[in-house]
Amino acid sequence: MTGATGRKSTFIRNLDPAVVTAFGCILLLLVLGSLYSRSFLSPEYLLQQLKVASFLGIIATGMMLVILLGQIDLSVPWTVATGAMMACAAAAYGPVGTALAIPFGVLCGIGIGLVNGVGVAYLRIPSMIVTLATNAVAQGVMVVYTGGFSPQDSATTAMRYLATGALVPGIPNVVFIWALIGAAMVFLLRRTGFGRAVYGIGNRERAAYLSGINTRRIVMIAFAASGGLSALGGVLLAGYASKAAQSMGDAYLLPAIAAVVLGGTSILGGKGSYLGTVAGVILITLLQSILSVTQMPEAGRQIIYGVVIILMLLLYGRAPASR
């Protein structure tokens, strides 16, 4: 066996047509955008998009993990907000608080994720409804908290540096963070027992359980990870905006789901690749951006947004014919 060529051909064979098409759609969008304005092809614009996409990318990573299990996480909006607000709030507690701000924010997200995970894995409540409820609870907690204590809500320097700084000139740090998380996710899904178990559970939890996999623990960990990643997205968003605000997560729920699915991950679980999610995230970000700068009434933007997503899915996201 010539290892290298063997690996390579496997790689090409494993390339999901959906992923390839999704990347094709990205190019198409850019070309269409450039008809409207040259600057859509400028490096500044593209980097700017990549930076904005990173936040969605990080959040969608967690969402993907959960979707691979055949579940869904609707608690994203307030998990993002909680992560951001708690990280900022921690910074009020002296240098220790400032140093621990980021981990604390992420930890709060993991906490919400754990509640989701316990509900789904141990209480067997459908994820769609548990996460809806925890979202409401997280919102409630944040309202109480904000109203009661006037917490600090400006981001720490570290948060701002991670979100807006550039260790390598020209390339925002947050893009690196996304890349790092992405690489970890790919490794997790492809090379670890956990990843195998995730796909296994997504395909058929009963069989995974009978194979001696601790399915409940894995489901719980996945939800916790999703919560943590949403919160990390929130922390970075707070760094980007230099402050936390309650509604900051609202704009991320549906796009995160759409990005994962546009990337070829089956919403029923058990199938999907991270590369696809990357493509989906970039697609959604570009589409939103191009629509936001075209001088068009909001109504038109909404209609085009919906129609384009449907068309792209029809292009490559269809289930196989049944016979």
Binding site: R191, F194, R204, A207, L210, S211, G212
Partner: protein
């Protein structure tokens, strides 16, 4: 073959699934008033053929004629309208609907556009009675019935359509022998009423009892058609597997030297399904679980494997009392238990995942270091299993769903053997498996036992229990009624104790369900 124009005829049928040729220029013709048995190994194309006949799958090429007229079926409904009803190998019942809903599902009686529930119930009761299962309540939900009852409902559902051609694809594979004889009576009556029946089964004795005509398939093509009784069993089997065929069962080693049991239970009880079960299992021993289907055998296996909650009594492994709370604990080092589950499609395998992923799924803990998969180790473990069980898979990175049923079953077994279990629980592992593969499985079991595994083996097939087991525990109503050992294991003894009667005339007793 007897004369008379065939009622239905298929010629030159080919069907390809991706790269797999399921059928290649296949043909079949059936006549009225006869039962036509279709035989063949797993993956020979039998199910595919009848799916085409029933309009579930579209053929790539070929013609079908009904009453001499060419026909094509765009959907199951179209085939149904032409008078073809089919009991599929994979049950086609809707689990969340009631028995009555399911039975009339093709053509429910309506009033004012709404389903007439009274009439529906009447029809359902009629059909259940025809299928010899009047004891099934029409309002019960299908998902609440045991598999064997579901299969009867499936037959009743086909009968309710008043078909001209009735197809049964391994329709009796989950039935108890009492149910089988009822079904056979029904089939014989239908034959006398002038129906054409197509009957697929891997059980030779059933075919001998029922069939008028036989067709043997191999590798997607017809090998031969002949009138029933004109070929010997071994001739038929050789046609099916394409090679010579000897005794199915490996020789038994005879009584073992006494040794401490590996697995032992004392007064094991669960809910009102298992009662005071006590037995022991030694290394090198194959112990069968017999009895009518649904007498607690499956529950017993699940209980041992840590799936059931609220067990009472004691389970001992190596003489140590343990409590197992999950399959994860059951497979642990020190216990080393494995369970080959009943339904490979929903419990054994992830059909869309690759053969590789399926094989290593139960051994992930052993194949990973710090959570990371040790690829060379995985590779070699998989290679070992592929050869050990001679699994036929073109590509181990192809979905396991693309393998034939028999090979899928081997994958299920292999994924557990990879852990080298000390205690192997098997839940009817040969259901719907062809003779060739069955033989391989029997030999494998014996080899495992010889290598020191303790095997507990549930089968609905008495011949299997007789052929393979050193001892058989016969369960009745959740309790061990009798333990048979060595030469005591005979069909007569098995049936008698299964029906919980001491003298042997089982045919007049109804099984309790």
């Amino acid at each position: 073959m007897e004369s008379g124009a065939p009622l239905f005829r298929m010629e030159g049928i080919s069907k390809r699934y991706g790269g797999v040729r399921a059928l290649e220029n296949a043909e079949l013709s059936v006549r009225t008033g006869a039962i036509h048995a279709v035989l063949g190994e797993n993956g020979a194309g039998k199910s595919t053929l009848i799916k085409i006949m029933a309009g579930v799958v579209a053929a790539d090429e070929g013609q079908m004629t009904l009453d001499g007229q060419p026909v094509t079926f765009a959907s199951p409904a179209a085939a149904n309208a032409a008078g073809i009803a089919c009991v599929f190998q994979e049950l086609s019942l809707i689990p969340e609907l009631s028995v009555a809903d399911n039975i009339v599902i093709f053509n429910p009686p309506t009033r004012f556009g709404m389903i007439d529930r009274k009439a529906q119930r009447r029809l359902a009761e009629e059909a259940l009675a025809r299928a010899g299962a009047a004891d099934i309540h029409p309002l019960a939900l299908v998902k609440d019935l045991p598999l064997s009852r579901q299969q009867i409902v499936e037959i009743a559902k086909a009968l309710a359509r008043k078909p001209r051609i009735l197809i049964l694809d391994e329709a009796t594979s989950a039935l108890t022998s009492a149910d089988v004889s009822k079904v056979f009576a029904v089939l014989k009556r239908l034959r006398s009423e002038g129906l054409a029946l197509v009957y697929i089964s891997h059980r030779m004795n059933e075919i001998a009892e029922l069939a008028d005509d036989c067709t043997v398939f191999r590798n997607g093509s017809k090998v031969a058609s002949y009138a029933a009784g004109t070929r010997s069993d071994s001739e038929v089997i050789e046609m099916m597997i394409g090679r010579e065929y000897h005794s199915v069962y490996p020789p038994k080693p005879g009584p073992l030297a006494p040794a401490a049991p590996v697995l032992e239970t004392r007064n094991l009880s669960w809910a009102n399904r298992l009662h005071d079960i006590s037995f022991s299992l030694r290394a090198g021993e194959i112990v069968g679980l017999g009895g009518l289907d649904g007498q607690g055998q499956r529950d017993l296996l699940l209980a041992l494997f840590g799936v059931l909650r609220g067990l009472r009594g004691t389970v001992l492994v190596d003489g140590r009392a343990i409590s197992i709370g999950s399959p994860a604990q059951a497979r642990r080092h020190g216990i080393g238990m494995a369970l080959i589950p009943e339904d490979r499609k929903t419990e054994g395998l992830m059909l869309p995942m690759t053969v590789r992923d399926n094989l290593s799924l139960a051994s992930l803990d052993r194949l990973t270091r710090g959570g990371i998969i040790d690829r060379p180790k995985e590779e070699s473990a998989i290679d070992r299993m592929m050869t050990l069980l001679s699994i036929k898979a073109g590509n181990i990175d192809a979905p396991v769903g693309a393998l034939s049923g028999g090979n899928q079953q081997k994958v299920v077994i292999a994924k557990w053997l990879m852990r080298q279990p000390r205690i192997v629980l098997l839940n009817d592992p040969t259901r719907g498996i062809d003779v060739g593969t069955k033989q391989e499985i029997y030999q494998l079991l014996r080899r495992l036992a010889d290598e020191g595994a303790a095997i507990l083996f549930y089968s609905t097939d008495y011949a299997e229990l007789i052929g393979c087991c050193d001892r058989v525990l016969v369960l009745y109503d959740g309790a061990v009624k009798r333990e048979l050992a060595g030469p005591e294991i005979t069909e007569r003894a098995l049936i008698a104790s299964a029906l919980n009667i001491s003298s042997a005339d089982p045919s007049h007793r109804e099984p309790i369900q």
